[in-house]
């Protein structure tokens, strides 16, 4: 059982939690994640480790309420316990050896992008950060990110923050304007990362993507998170989550990520009927 020490609502949809998990905190590195099961009936879901403090024995996660698993998690309050947390899982991000990178993040992908930016900053790498959100309400961690980046651009899908654009538009602008990077790191939705790769390819820039996949055990056993990378079967949980973007079969990844969409939608509807007032 893992205690929730702190719960902070960033906005209606996005929540930050501090969990007591000393063994995981001891080990966690940027890019790694946990598998979490809120209660005995819940699904096991992967969530990025946003921050870890080995001295305090805590890890932090940020989740967006998208389905029953995260709604259930959101029902928990400070002082409550989460049934299972396993980690740290996946390979840590490779962030050494860069002088200048672009870090592109969409939505709650910032939970992974922020710890990466922190390591890059510590390594003396100049990081141009591009963040995309659905609308103004969804923007989180702006100041924190600003303090460790070379430059920062924040865009929204609806322009409610005054800047209506896609993250890929901003990346394109920079590259067309002559900016060059040792690598472009992207973390967000799969179509977004694919679009980033389509652009970086033109400029022959190394493109690293952080793949999200449906997982159960997170240790390589179940094979649910498999991806085609470089024509071979890879597992996001033990081989990833980061891969060379040009090698990833994004089409297959998109198909696999929506394999349970009908069931997920149905479950969410049922859950929301049960708990009236939960925002869809």
């Amino acid at each position: 059982m893992f205690e929730i020490l702190q719960k902070t609502r960033f906005n209606d949809y996005t929540v930050h939690m501090v969990l007591k998990a000393p063994m995981i905190a001891e080990k966690a590195k940027a890019g790694q994640f946990v598998i979490l099961r809120t209660d005995k009936f819940a699904e096991r879901i992967p969530l990025t480790i946003f921050n870890a403090d080995s001295a305090k024995g805590t890890i932090e996660i940020i989740y967006q309420k998208v389905g029953v698993a995260t709604y259930k998690l959101d029902k928990k309050s400070e002082g409550d316990f989460i049934e299972d947390v396993l980690g740290p899982l996946g390979k840590p991000s490779k962030l050494e050896g860069y002088k200048k990178v672009a870090l592109v993040s969409g939505g709650v992908g910032i939970a992974a992008a922020y710890p990466m930016a922190k390591v890059l900053y510590k390594n003396g790498c100049k990081t141009d950060v591009i963040l995309g959100f659905r609308n103004k309400e969804f923007i989180i961690l702006e100041d924190a990110m600003k303090s460790i980046s070379n430059s920062i651009e924040i865009v929204t899908d609806d322009g409610s923050n005054g800047k209506k654009a896609l993250v890929t538009d901003m990346l394109k602008d920079k590259l067309e304007g002559g900016e060059r990077y040792d690598a472009v790191l992207s973390v967000g939705s799969i179509p977004m990362m694919k679009a980033v790769c389509d652009i970086t390819k033109i400029y022959k820039i190394k493109s690293i993507v952080s793949m999200t996949a449906i997982m159960i055990d997170g240790t390589g056993m179940c094979g649910g998170c498999r991806l085609k990378v470089g024509g071979k079967t890879k597992f996001a949980c033990v081989d990833g989550p980061e891969f060379y973007g040009y090698e990833v079969d994004f089409y297959e990844a998109i198909i696999r990520n929506r394999m349970f969409k009908i069931q997920e939608d149905r479950a969410r509807e049922k859950y929301c009927n049960l708990y009236k007032g939960v925002k869809l």
Binding site: K27, G220, G223
Partner: protein, 465 residues
């Protein structure tokens, strides 16, 4: 009082109709009278070929003669001398390929139903002095030992070491204990209560059990050694599922058997109380011929309304699956397509599986292990409709522990290499066994490695003290 019947006492079984939609256990077990009758078919022959054919040499005639006299607790105690988990082996061992295959009664009829009798006897396990071989008051005082993984091999090693008063801790990555016995084998074959009973034997012996801890990631092997553990037994299981690397394996509706079975067995996807989903199954094709393939097919049959077909590239006689499970699968109306190999999975415009392209195969020589090989009969490609594909063709090794333990040598396939005896690795005080070493194998071979590891560990430490 020898029973001369040429055929076994039949195993009482839930009817195929009754079990079509339930995960309740299929085989119901012998009653006392039937067990005694069947036991009396054993000739107590001098040669004891059954004992030689058992990987852990259970004293089979010994326990059967106890059943003959009605001493059921005694029978269980005899088994427990060499097998701590007869309630599991009696249910999942392929007896027809081992002890029963060697039975002298096969010369004139069916072998003694050793598996059924083992299962019967296991019900008389008692936490008492009478069964002191297995359960007594443990007094952990010797060395601290870490066991990695709570599958059959880890459970056995932990229990055997605890019996020798070692202070044992099992580390399990999943939230439940039992390894493949939990996530792999369906409840209609191994009910949850039976597994709990087995796991409870460890608790009775004061084995400490820690879940949600992935050795290699949460704690490394070296950290365990540096934090007071004198030795480590790695029994982390088979690891990554194998794929065929053919076109369309990533389509929606294509599962690997581990995922499909884990969703059901570990996450209870078949129960509406649990959140983990399964897709609408429709017509299902399972690829493979082992126990995992049969388990997946039988789960699919219970959950869906469509046809369930097992496609295997060899013939029925070459199926590695346990015979009685194949028979049960047939009774449950699962179709078998032998001598067929998939070439491609074809999807619709949404990326959802719709059909499978395959070739017909024929035997052609044998592989290195002497097993029959197959080649295509012709270049002709056939098609079969499918809404769900489940791939059950075995597994490869898991890289997590070797990756985080640089001085742990592995063989060319990534399996942990054994350097001396049966379980000693290249790294001092680190032992390994079960599927992590031998590749996906049987429960009984995992139990065998667990026993050998316990023996080698205690031997090595007795030499030290």
């Amino acid at each position: 009082m020898i029973n001369n019947s040429k055929i076994k006492e039949s195993m009482p079984t839930r009817s195929a109709k009754e079990r079509a939609k339930t995960f309740e256990e299929v085989e119901l077990g012998y009653g006392e009278e039937t067990a005694i009758k069947e036991a009396c078919r054993c000739l107590s022959c001098m040669a004891k070929p059954c004992v030689s054919a058992c990987p852990i040499a259970v004293d089979i005639p010994g326990f059967i003669s106890k059943i003959k006299t009605g001493d059921f607790k005694g029978a269980c105690a005899v088994i427990n001398k060499s097998n701590p988990f007869p309630e599991i082996c009696g249910r999942v061992c392929s007896q027809e390929k081992q002890c029963e295959k060697a039975c002298i009664r096969r010369k004139t009829g069916e072998p003694v139903a050793i598996g059924n009798l083992e299962r019967f006897a296991s019900e008389y396990f008692e936490n008492s002095n009478e069964n002191s071989e297995l359960v007594g008051k443990s007094n952990p005082q010797k060395y601290k030992i870490a066991v990695v993984g709570s599958g059959p091999s880890g459970m056995t090693c932990a229990l055997e070491l605890a019996k020798k008063d070692f202070d044992v801790t099992i580390f399990e990555a999943l939230h439940e204990f039992g390894g493949v016995l939990v996530y792999g084998i369906p409840k209609f074959r191994l009910p949850k209560e039976i597994l709990n009973k087995a796991v409870n034997k460890l608790k009775l012996r004061n084995v400490k059990m820690i879940n949600n801890c992935l050795i290699g990631n949460t704690i490394t092997i070296d950290e365990l050694l540096n934090s007071g553990y004198s030795a480590i037994y790695i029994s982390s299981g088979a690891g990554l599922p194998k794929f065929m690397n053919i076109k369309g394996e990533g389509l929606s509706g294509v599962y690997c058997a581990n995922e499909f079975l884990t969703r059901i067995n570990l996450m209870n996807a078949h129960s509406s109380d649990y959140d983990t989903p399964l897709t609408e199954l429709g017509d299902v094709i399972v690829i493979g011929g082992g126990n995992v393939a049969i388990d997946a097919a039988r789960c699919a049959k219970r959950l869906g309304t469509g046809e369930v077909t097992i496609m295997y590239r060899r013939g029925e006689a070459e199926m590695p699956a346990r015979l009685s499970e194949v028979e049960h699968a047939k009774e449950e109306n699962i179709k078998f397509e032998f001598f067929k190999t998939p070439l491609e999975f074809v999807g619709d415009e949404d990326g959802k599986i719709k059909e499978i392209k395959y070739q017909n195969m024929v035997y052609f020589g044998a592989d290195n292990s002497g097993r029959k090989s197959v080649i295509p009969t012709s270049n002709e490609i056939h098609k079969m409709r499918a809404d769900t594909i489940i791939i059950a063709i075995g597994s490869e090794t898991n890289p997590l522990i070797p990756r985080s333990t640089p001085d742990l040598e592995c063989d060319e396939f990534g399996k942990i290499a054994i350097k001396s005896g049966f379980t000693r690795t290249s790294k001092p005080f680190v032992y390994a066994g079960g599927d992590a070493v031998i590749g996906a194998a049987t429960v009984i071979s995992a139990i065998d490695s667990g026993k050998k590891a316990a023996l080698e560990i205690s031997k090595d430490f007795e030499a030290r003290s």
